[in-house]
Symmetry: C2
Subunit: 252 residues, 2 copies
DNA sequence: CCTGTACGCAGTACATTGTACATCGTACGG
DNA sequence: CCGTACGATGTACAATGTACTGCGTACAGG
């Protein structure tokens, strides 16, 4: 099961698809029953509703009423389809204009936009973008987010590093939240039930003398969040730390 | 391809394996040719050398000179095997004693220990620990890392949140670094070659008027790191931001 | 109008995965 | 000395991405 990754296909073909470089309709042959956009939309629908694991070529084809192999006349393969899905998702992101606002508000807005992206498309958090899909969606997103950090006195390299750091935090958080939801679904146990199932067993082997801090802090954290992982708290706390981490660079 | 996840199996059985609750040898039947530890070691070796994708039950069995199904007499399934692998890796982590050192040094040491873990076991970064393997390795790790943050005036809930934030950063960084390496291997192109392949094609469609910041900052960042993603810089910069983010909470 | 050809669509097929199931053989307790 | 419990084996299945092979369609040139 390879990790899902963008830009795993042929660069030229992928870029052509991303920028729709060839609107030149082929006159020969039977009429096309679908469009690339329709395939991307269907695939996104599957991934949104049932996760990346459920995103199979067979499933997308079924939703479109065609046989699996038909998809391959629109898209070179699953890797390129993922690129198209992600760039399209980027393209659809709302981009609030926060020009003139304090920098913390501007960066908070960027974080929120990304959080909303992952809320709408949880699968997007799981995709590795070591080599991003170089499409119009990513470009618009990058330009917009750089603007939120521009003019604060940071040099370009630091500016890029700050943006990467912020986006890495939001993505890591989204992954953790999605993983928690997935674990809950797969095990048919919520966090509380899971701890209730493990706690007594763990207590039998766990030497409280050996792990005093773990027991004390673990209990406190568990009690504070109702015994469960609390994504909301992790996000709020983490974003605060990230912004405080930027302050020395920006405020001087 | 489900996301790799810990604690996906039966809690009771998993905990028993993790804590080796039943050293009671069964007298009946043929002698056991292997041990659970041998299976875990072999599996870790495969994952270390060739990544999680290459970690298949067949492959581990082959390395051990047995038929795939034999593994199932030692381990309930692949999910539990992953738990054992991860907890064992946690158990083997060196834990430096930094008592008395300044808090930044102590947290830097924790970060370094985790970075070393992911350097030795890149697959560990990819495993979701939404529900961690509750074994002796994790407990020792948790206790040790809490100690690095204890006594700084943080309440227990904040202490736990800070540790989570730090570990999330290191893991996210390790994932990015591993993804970059994997992309390089799979595509047989390093970052520079990839950009050389995509750059000219991208230039044809990319309107520089439309994305001035992206072009400017992208060029600057690319030039600074030799045209490639620079994990070392991302780690150093990111860890600095994380620690600066804690400063207001700790230094007051 | 007619026909050749290029191309969209469909069906079959294969390698790879985790693991359920049934079978076989071993070696200790009585 | 032998029954039985249990470890090891081999076969089998469902799901996946996608290569390959046809089949039929519909436009271009005559």
């Amino acid at each position: 099961m390879p990790t899902e990754r963008t830009s795993a296909g042929d660069p030229a073909r992928t870029l052509q698809l991303l920028w729709q470089d060839s609107p030149a309709d082929r006159p020969k042959g039977p009429r096309r029953g679908l469009t690339v956009a329709a395939v991307v939309t269907a695939a996104t629908g599957v991934a949104d509703a049932e996760g990346l694991d459920a995103l199979t070529m067979r499933r997308v084809a079924k939703d479109l009423g065609v046989v699996p192999m038909t998809l391959y006349t629109y898209v070179p393969g699953k890797a390129e389809l993922l690129d198209l899905m992600l760039d399209a998702a980027y393209r659809r992101m709302p981009r609030a204009d926060t020009a003139g606002a304090p920098w913390r508000d501007r960066l908070t807005a960027v974080a929120e936009e990304n959080r909303a992206l992952y809320a709408r498309h949880p699968w997007a958090a799981a995709v590795s973008t070591a080599r991003p899909p170089l499409g119009p969606g990513l470009m618009a997103k990058y330009e917009h987010e750089l603007a939120a950090l521009d003019g604060l006195g940071l040099d370009d390299v630091t500016l890029d590093a700050c943006l990467t750091h912020l986006l890495t935090f939001v993505q890591a958080w989204a992954r953790a939240a999605a993983d928690a939801r997935a674990a809950e679904q797969d095990s048919a146990m919520d966090d509380r039930q899971w701890w209730e199932a493990n706690g007594p067993l763990l207590a039998r082997v766990l030497d409280e003398e050996a792990y005093p801090l773990a027991v004390r802090v673990g209990a406190a954290a568990g009690a504070a969040h109702g015994g469960a992982y609390d994504p909301e708290h992790a996000y709020t706390f983490g974003l605060g730390r990230v912004l405080d981490g930027f302050a020395p660079l920006i405020d001087g």
